[in-house]
């Protein structure tokens, strides 16, 4: 068909069904974004950091989840706990540094305590308030330490030492139940021995968080990457399956990367993670915005923090084994950096593509259809690597939680399903 006029452009192209595209407004609308924060990000388990970032008792790490400031601390009993990083007195943020230790105490507080610098209220590592300055003078018997503990959050250390937190006290699933089997492909490798984070950087890019997640969920965009075009397109690559799990998670299964096809890259054979077959690659796209990528010798984890409909912060971590020798660590870092580092071969291409994708979808641009309709199956009928099942699977969960049909967000999810049927 030649270029289309406005009416033709507005029609669903070809014979695509209604679950095979989404409406671009889900990436740009402010009201939808606010709803995502309350209906999704406040209701799920998210990894917020790795336990190696708070290695010793009294270490802490601060972060945010769904705009709430969060503090993760390791107690004197070695237990990792999470709290809102909010003082119960007048709402000051208790700890402002990204990480550190309470071992020595703040200028106005005692060692091994969290102290709010504003009026010097103090808390222990379990979140109990243990000191209110001039308490009886000011509050008499109307308010005591026992009334003003910190707001604790449900927290689990799981899957290779990631610290998972939820803001929803009433969540009816553990992290394992929430994962719904999505970690089976790499759990043995992650849990064989302690891991350590060796790489951290962040990017704040002008795109909706779902566009980044979409990109991580589909491999059709390997055409974007020179590295992947050269190393990846072989029979075992096209045989990779794209598998959906409950709660909107997906896996893209293993294949052997042909590193010798690309100049300047060594095989990852020597330092493969425990139980991971040589040069293999496993990937989990975890609902609603986390990606775990285990490629031979290094684990990558991207955690997304949505900042607005067209703005997302992505934190990139690289992990190796805690037992690495300095030489082994350097090799892992090099393997990690060559593809995934900020100066590596792939990451900048991904960041570029989602930025220019979002640039066509400003809030005031007319809606358009974003196609998720590729079906490329293997002999068993299972979706393979260039099938867009990963995104379709994600948007079913998204639509259900938002009660909006992704192809027409003004329609309820149920109505959309009925129409699709």
């Amino acid at each position: 068909m030649p270029a289309r006029n406005g009416k033709q452009w507005a029609n669903v192209p070809g014979k695509l069904g209604s679950g095979e595209y989404v409406d671009s407004r889900i990436y740009s609308d402010h009201a939808i974004f606010e709803e995502e924060i309350s209906k999704i990000f406040r209701k799920v388990w998210m990894p917020v950091c790795h336990e190696s970032e708070l290695p010793d008792p009294f270490c802490f790490r601060t972060t945010t989840l769904a705009r709430e400031p969060i503090m993760v601390v390791r107690g004197g009993d070695n237990v990792v706990r999470a709290f809102l990083n909010v003082c119960p007195h007048r709402g000051n943020m208790i700890e402002n540094r990204p990480s550190g230790s309470f071992e020595e105490g703040a200028p106005s507080g005692a060692p091994k305590h969290m102290t709010c610098m504003f009026h010097a209220w103090q808390f222990d590592m379990k979140g109990n308030c243990v000191h209110i300055s001039r308490a009886t003078e000011g509050y008499q018997d109307r308010l005591a330490c026992s009334d003003v503990g910190l707001r604790r959050l449900r927290c689990e250390v799981k899957y290779g030492g990631f610290v998972w937190v939820t803001l929803d006290d009433g969540i009816d699933q553990s992290v394992e139940e929430w994962a719904h089997g999505a970690f089976d492909c790499m759990q043995k490798s992650l849990d064989a021995e302690p891991l350590e984070v060796f790489h951290y950087h962040k990017a704040i890019i002008p795109c909706n968080y779902k566009l980044w997640h979409d990109t991580n969920s589909e491999f059709y965009h390997d055409y974007l990457h020179y590295h992947n075009r050269i190393t990846g397109f072989n029979d075992s690559y096209f045989a990779r399956k794209n598998i959906g799990f409950g709660n909107g998670h997906i896996n893209v299964g293993s294949f052997e990367v042909q590193y010798d096809q690309y100049e300047g890259f060594e095989s990852r054979e020597e330092l493969s993670f425990p139980y991971l077959p040589t040069n293999h690659w496993e990937m989990i796209d975890f609902f609603p915005g986390v990606n775990f990528n285990l490629r031979g010798s290094a684990l990558r984890c991207d955690i997304m923090t949505p900042l607005g409909p067209d703005k997302v912060m992505i934190e990139f971590r690289g992990l190796g084994l805690k037992s690495d020798t300095p030489e082994e660590r350097l090799t892992r870092q090099r393997h990690h950096n060559s593809i995934w580092g900020p100066f590596g071969r792939n990451l900048h291409e991904d960041l570029l593509a989602v930025s220019t994708q979002q640039a066509t979808m400003s809030e005031w641009a007319e809606k358009r259809r974003i196609l998720h309709g590729r079906h490329e199956t293997d002999a068993d009928g299972d979706p393979t690597i260039h099938d867009e099942e990963g995104m379709r699977h994600f948007y079913k969960e998204w639509g259900r939680r938002m009660d909006r049909w992704p192809g027409n967000p003004e329609m309820s999810y149920q109505k959309g399903q009925e129409k699709a049927a």
Partner: protein, 163 residues
């Protein structure tokens, strides 16, 4: 040659390298580097309390990296740096000199997002220090090592070029 002349020569080489990097003249830049040249981009992360290496390699790695740049899809927004050489310490007995320079890299938007609105806009992209070691005493001073020590750890798209 007096130390003062050697120091002037080294400063010139650092500034020439800055111009070559600004202009993406990778081969000219690498011609200022010794055959044993080692290059690294590092940063300390207070988030994970760790000295990180973001990129490192020897001369051959940089040759293959820079030759492959045109094969990649890129944000072509030019990066230009403002470099100031702070100190040059000559070690005559070893035939080397260590130098510390401060740099700020500016990005001028070209094609990275929406060129109609953004092209032509300049922003600070990276700041840090160059920690260089030179081989001296055999004519033109040559870079033996460059460690780019970044302060910046928010690294948005456009970072795939040598800094």
């Amino acid at each position: 040659m007096s130390d003062q002349l050697v120091i002037e020569d080294i400063k010139n080489t650092i500034y020439r390298a800055s111009l070559y990097l600004d202009e993406c003249r990778w081969a000219d830049w690498l011609a200022l580097c010794h055959e044993d040249f080692y290059y690294a981009i590092r940063a300390f992360s207070p988030e994970i309390n760790y000295d990180m290496t973001y990129l490192d390699g020897h001369r051959a790695d940089l040759v293959s990296m820079t030759e492959m740049l045109p094969k990649h899809n890129s944000d072509h927004s030019p990066l230009a740096r403002h470099t100031v050489v702070y100190t040059v310490d000559v070690n005559d007995t070893q035939g080397t000199a260590s130098c510390v320079s401060s740099f700020a890299v500016y990005q001028t938007q070209l094609d990275g997002i929406n060129s109609h609105v953004l092209a032509g806009e300049s922003n600070i992209f990276l700041v840090g220090k160059y920690r260089d070691i030179f081989r001296i005493g055999t004519g033109q001073p040559l870079f033996l090592q460059r460690v780019v020590q970044l302060d910046t750890r928010r690294l948005d798209k456009g970072t795939h070029w040598p800094i």
